[in-house]
């Protein structure tokens, strides 16, 4: 049987610039190993893992303390982030999350993936998608506060540490997400 050999377009200069548009994402296992080594570095260097929601808590505690300092200090949740004499934003997770923004931007720029866009499925309006993005954020703020962490601090960090509560959390997270997906298929599919 004759084999069909597909060759590159001979007109294309192999040393020329790559085609415009976003580059494909990194292999998930490779990206995961990279992420795991970053997490391991945090464990070894400072004795703690990654996080995200904690930085939001510090930011909200600081903003609230600007408007209502006494209320913020006495609040059982925000007060946790206003202890000590240091500025509330002088916190490990705040510095880490600023780094996350820069690291993501660098990676995105290198791969031509920085675009002004709104991620949504083909069947939902922009207003609808933005309303759900806001609602989802607010829901997750409650979830992260109750669980004492989010996907970074609980699932990833606690997962690697074999933390009992984190594994309970992780299973619940996947269960909650799969149970919700069908109801929101119009947002995404």
């Amino acid at each position: 049987m004759e084999r069909i050999v597909v060759t590159r377009d001979v007109m294309e200069d192999p040393a020329g610039p790559p085609p415009p548009g976003p580059r494909p994402y990194t292999n998930p296992y490779l990206a995961g190993v990279g992420l795991g080594l970053v997490l391991l570095a945090a464990f070894v260097l400072v004795g703690r893992g990654l996080g995200a929601s904690g930085a939001f808590n510090s930011l909200v505690a600081w903003l609230t303390s600007l408007v209502a300092p006494d209320y913020a200090k006495d609040n059982p949740f925000l007060g946790n982030y206003l202890n000590g004499d240091d500025h509330p934003l002088k916190a490990w997770l705040v510095f880490e999350l600023v780094g996350v923004a820069i690291g993501a931007l660098v990676s995105g720029l290198l791969a031509r993936r920085v675009v002004r866009t709104i991620e949504r499925g083909p069947r939902i309006s922009i207003a609808g998608r933005l309303a759900l993005a806001f609602l989802g954020g607010a829901l997750m703020a409650f979830g992260a506060a109750i669980a004492r962490g989010c996907t970074s601090g609980q699932a990833l960090t606690g997962g690697a540490m074999l933390n009992l509560g984190s594994w309970v959390f992780m299973l619940a997270l996947f269960a909650g997400a799969y149970a919700t997906a069908w109801f929101l298929r119009k947002e995404w599919r």
Binding site: L59, F77, G99, G103, G143, A145, L164, G165, A181
Partner: protein
């Protein structure tokens, strides 16, 4: 025993903050590399079209877990000095469910919303605003959550302690489960791709 360096006094708070910033850059870089600045890519996990969330998460967990295990066995790292979030299993179950629901509704989790915002996704920024407002809302309502926050308290507990099984056995089991999960995830992706292709031709 040399690590964790900060806990053993090798450097001070200011250096720790610099490391936080550098570690964050690495974290954000690999999140974006994996495609986690895109809500559609993230949420495809829950429609079984692209299981990268599972693959990336478990490759990262296995990598860091094996690293911790070997460094501890080699006597290089004192695992008891690495901070372990205390277990409140009821609170973590309820919080995890809420986060799972919110993940599909909002399209991101807190860390990935920052990666999305940094790479131009306006819905990522709106998610960030929602998370901030939600945090304030939780703070205002927090006296109501006292009972739930303390529910299922077991203190800092690891899976090996809870199950009464040696640490190495759990490590091995997690590796086996992850590898089986990777194979299963790829099988599901292929199956769904074939189904979608058949639906288009029909």
């Amino acid at each position: 025993m040399m690590a964790p360096f900060y806990k053993l006094g090798a450097f001070g708070d200011e250096t720790a903050l610099l490391i936080a910033f550098l570690v964050g850059i690495g974290f954000g870089f690999f999140l974006e590399r994996a495609g986690f600045g895109s809500a559609r890519k993230l949420v495809a996990q829950f429609y079984l079209r692209d299981l990268a969330v599972f693959k990336v998460m478990f490759s990262a967990i296995v990598t860091a877990m094996l690293g911790l295990t070997y460094l501890a066995w080699a006597g290089y790292l004192d695992l008891s000095l690495v901070y372990l979030v205390p277990t409140f299993w009821v609170a973590q179950l309820v919080g995890g469910l809420l986060l799972g629901i919110g993940f599909v509704v909002g399209g991101y989790c807190p860390g990935t919303s920052i990666a999305a915002t940094a790479t131009g996704r306006f819905d990522g920024l709106v998610y960030v605003a929602g998370f901030a407002v939600g945090t304030l809302g939780f703070a205002i309502a927090s006296p109501l959550f006292d009972g739930l926050l303390g529910a299922g308290e077991l203190g800092p507990t690891t899976l090996p302690q809870a199950l009464g099984v040696p640490y190495g056995v759990i490590v091995f089991a997690v590796v086996v489960l992850a590898v089986a999960g990777f194979a299963g995830a790829t099988w599901i992706e292929r199956k769904m791709a074939a189904r979608d292709a058949a639906a288009v031709t029909r």
